[in-house]
């Protein structure tokens, strides 16, 4: 197998580390990122004819039960 260029090896390692950092984020921050992901993906999915609803962070306010 070809030896990996050191710069590529560094990028792949850093990417893995970033995934662990994202996994360790607080729940509220993860939800905020999910909304950003929905915003990023929505134009692509709409262009494919999919019906897409992107959450707004206002939707995510805690529900107060009476």
């Amino acid at each position: 197998m070809d030896e990996l260029d050191p710069e590529i090896a560094r990028l792949i390692t850093a990417k893995e580390q970033r995934r662990h950092k994202l996994a360790a984020l607080p729940f509220a921050e993860k939800v905020r990122l999910v909304v950003k992901l929905q915003q990023m993906a929505a134009p692509v999915l709409r262009a494919r004819g999919r019906s897409v609803a992107v959450w707004t962070l206002d939707d995510l306010k805690p529900v107060v039960r009476k």
Binding site: E7, K36, M40, A41
Partner: protein, 130 residues
């Protein structure tokens, strides 16, 4: 993300990048419903350097001059963490050369073909892609 892609198109126009295409999970979104992670994988063909060394430093420097900051291996461009991955083997060069031209909203861009996305994921061989 549209502004991010506009910045990438400018980098191609000014010669900082020879070519780029969207890959990774966001690239797969053009064909399927992948599990997304919060970053944008951009495969790039860099202009040939005099030394022949594979380095992203000139690209990072250009982006720094435009006010875009590095976050680990990513550069935050218009609010999106972008990871640049140089085409370092024949598969990636082919994938970039044959990338599809598409529009993201009003902005032209390129995305790897589905078969190349799958081949690159297999070659990378991460557990999450199995």
């Amino acid at each position: 993300m549209e502004k991010t892609l506009q910045v990438l198109n400018e980098l191609v126009r000014d010669g900082t990048l020879s070519r780029y295409a969207i890959g990774g999970a966001m690239g797969a979104t053009f064909y399927a419903e992948p599990v997304l992670t919060f970053d944008l994988d951009i495969f790039v063909i860099l202009p040939q350097t005099v030394s022949g060394l594979l380095t992203l430093e000139p690209l990072y420097e250009t982006l720094r001059a435009r006010g875009y900051t590095e976050e680990g291996e990513c550069v935050n461009i218009e609010g999106i963490p972008v990871q640049f991955l140089p085409a370092h083997n024949d598969l990636l060069v082919e994938a970039l050369t044959e990338a599809r031209e598409v529009f993201y909203e009003q902005t032209p861009t390129r995305v790897l073909r589905a078969e190349h996305l799958v081949a690159v994921a297999l070659q990378t061989g991460r557990d999450k892609d199995r």
